[in-house]
Symmetry: C2
């Protein structure tokens, strides 16, 4: 842990720097696999699945039998927990529905905005040690509320060609249309181009390692949208003497266990809480199953003391944390002043893991400073806003001559003529 | 013009294909200029301005004197037309403001979503023959409503180092913070990295040629968001015998005059209107100042006859036009059924040029099939949605054990522990 006291503003950029990722080396591999999948479809997808996941698949899709089997394998406790989580995520995202925005801008000129769903979406769920079924909930529930017609989930199989039952169960509960047993670059390539059996989608969502991240970036070159660029997960806690040091330490550690490159920062207005948290971290870390990972992340973590809440807020907005926990005697100050953050957790009884699993907010959030320009995944991520306008005879008389003047000033004759013809017909 | 009658569905993909753009050759140039600007700042920016725009600039910014001068140079007619346009754009985008979404997902678990502005945005306005001050209005007005703090406009200077007065005037009217006299790749690079005097921004908006498009794509690699990928402009009109053929022809031509690669498609349920429109196009095109450009685009245009409105709608959604004009005896059918479009124009008196200039809707729209996943620019393009959650003691008791079960099932101990500690403190 690095304790930093009253850093001058000129040092902020350096202190808040994130670990840089180099993707150049990966790009070549990603390009090659994309070209292969584009050309050879399922053959290529199966070949890479054999190489990277160590399993030769006949069928890329999860079968009905596997769905039935998965339901049997998930414990009742887990089913109930998934149900609670699902209900809260549903409620929060369903509340985000917007009505048609309709306005008459000038008499006879009606303009409105309506949202329509993205018809085909791909949800990527990583494999690895932890089966991230919670990400299935976070992506499939809003997709279903939005009315996406095809919701394709891609996740890598294990060496036996199986998918974790909790992932299948969660997908089934949330209305996923199809699950394909494909991971990594070949999954993103398959969803980008489509194959004999994998549908081409219009937008790809979900977390992943560096390969998946670079593949998603490449997908955008082929006209597929993505939720957001991804980076290592991060948490910033602002605390003063009203915070519970053991709670703060547990939150910092819950972020640190994600990966050795996780970012963990404490900003404090009180040296006492800063020191207490440091002690608590040392104590709690001993009992964690992922101690090794967490220790590495904690090594790079920062405990920063600043004198005023105004300085703290400025520094936090400069960083723009993915997760932001506020535990101070003036939480409202931070809540109203925060400009760059993904998800904000307020008070001693709002751990970050609540947002990861069950409060109802989404855990697919911008990292790496992208909070300055990107929203986390929300209902609108699965919708497009379309504009409509309907102009009456009276309406075109009201705005027609302005359009003629503007089009002429831009040197666009035919634009002007489209109005002139209509105005003449009304003389 | 190519007239196509009842094309079989298997041919749709081919018929609706857009001209492909190759960007490989451009990428190298764009990369080199980005590296140079990153390293050498204003020196590099000025050097490329000298090379590409043929002018050596001392000061990259539009001065107060130039603002005052511009106001004198814009005619009163044009000022009044800009004012009308501005008011309508303001009204439509201001109506898009959303309220805080607040919901208690479980007793004691309050979740809400609030929007905060993107603090620093860059607006790119191309140079060339036509001074696109209308794009200034379309981008700066919603940026200002959203509350963006820095709104930086970049546009290339002419050989005398001047910016078109209408662009300066429009920028001034809409609250642009600074205008930089820089265009092309060097402008996007400057906004991406920041220089001694050009501010680094978080999101870049606006149209541009292939160089600018590739530069914007590259900017995303450096953590800057963009409004959307761009392609040549396009229009699809669906019409039957209730449409006015001369109006339809004038709309198709207004799109065709944009560029030789513009896309113009008529879908008709009536051979009569199709033939009438073809005749009208030949007639009207003769008098256009940009006849040469329009003729080239019209050469590649398509007049497609299909038998039913159901087939028409399916084909239109397959294409996903940027601009979509509906002139039939059942406009509601298309309005409710359209899934992929940027902006929709309804009825005989709603020319596309109304949306380009003055109805109030935005003209910065997805092209090239991106309507399937992207919205056009709207108020939300300048905002981020942030999630907040505040959990009471009662709330954590209600959802705590579900979080513990879910975290454990994903193998994330420390996530579980953050909840367990809190639950224990409440026993």
């Amino acid at each position: 842990m690095n304790t930093i006291i009253n850093p001058p503003k000129t040092d902020w950029l350096k202190i808040l720097q994130r670990p840089t990722q180099t993707v150049e080396a990966i790009e070549e591999t990603v390009n090659a696999i994309f070209d292969d999948v584009k050309l050879n479809g399922n053959d290529a997808v199966k070949r890479y699945t054999s190489i990277f996941d160590g399993v030769a698949l006949n069928d890329l899709f999860v079968s009905n039998e596997e769905v039935i089997e998965a339901e049997k394998l998930v414990s009742n406790d887990l089913k109930a927990a998934i149900q609670l989580s699902k209900e809260n995520i549903f409620k929060f995202h369903n509340a985000q529905k917007t009505k048609k925005v309709l306005i008459e801008t000038t008499e006879g000129v009606a303009c409105w905005q309506e949202k329509r769903s993205i018809q085909k979406v791909g949800l990527y769920i990583p494999g690895g040690t932890a089966p991230l079924f919670s990400s299935v909930l976070m992506l499939a529930i809003p997709a279903k509320i939005a009315g996406c017609r095809e919701i394709i989930l891609a996740t890598p199989p294990n060496k036996k060609g199986k998918i974790n039952p909790a992932i299948i169960y969660a997908a089934q509960q949330c209305g996923v249309t199809k699950i394909i047993k494909v991971g990594g670059i070949q999954a993103i390539a398959g969803l980008t181009f489509g194959t004999e059996t994998i549908p081409k989608v219009y937008k790809i969502f979900g977390p992943g390692n560096q390969y998946v991240t670079v593949a998603k970036q490449l997908a955008t070159k082929y006209g597929v949208a993505i939720d957001m660029p991804a980076g290592p997960s991060e948490l910033l806690v602002v605390a003063d003497e009203t915070a519970d040091a053991s709670f703060v330490a547990s939150d910092l550690l819950s972020q640190a266990e994600h990966g050795t490159d996780s970012q963990v920062i404490l900003v404090a207005n009180s040296m006492q809480i800063l020191n207490e948290v440091a002690v608590e971290i040392e104590k709690q870390i001993e009992n964690l199953s992922r101690k090794k990972i967490a220790s590495k992340a904690i090594e790079n973590s920062k405990l920063i003391y600043v004198e005023t809440k105004e300085i703290a807020l400025e520094l936090i907005n400069e960083y723009g944390p993915e997760h932001f926990i506020v535990c101070t005697n003036d939480n409202d100050f931070y809540v109203s002043g925060i400009e760059n953050a993904g998800s904000v957790f307020i008070g001693n009884y709002t751990p970050e893991s609540a947002g990861d699993y069950a409060s109802g907010t989404n855990h697919t959030l911008p990292t790496n400073g992208y909070t300055k320009a990107y929203s986390g995944v929300n209902l609108d991520s699965f919708l497009k806003a379309i504009s409509f306008q309907k102009i009456s005879k009276k309406g075109i008389k009201n705005i027609g001559s302005a359009i003629e003047i503007l089009a002429e000033a831009e040197g666009l004759d035919a634009h002007k003529n489209a109005v002139t013809l209509r105005l003449k017909s009304l003389e």
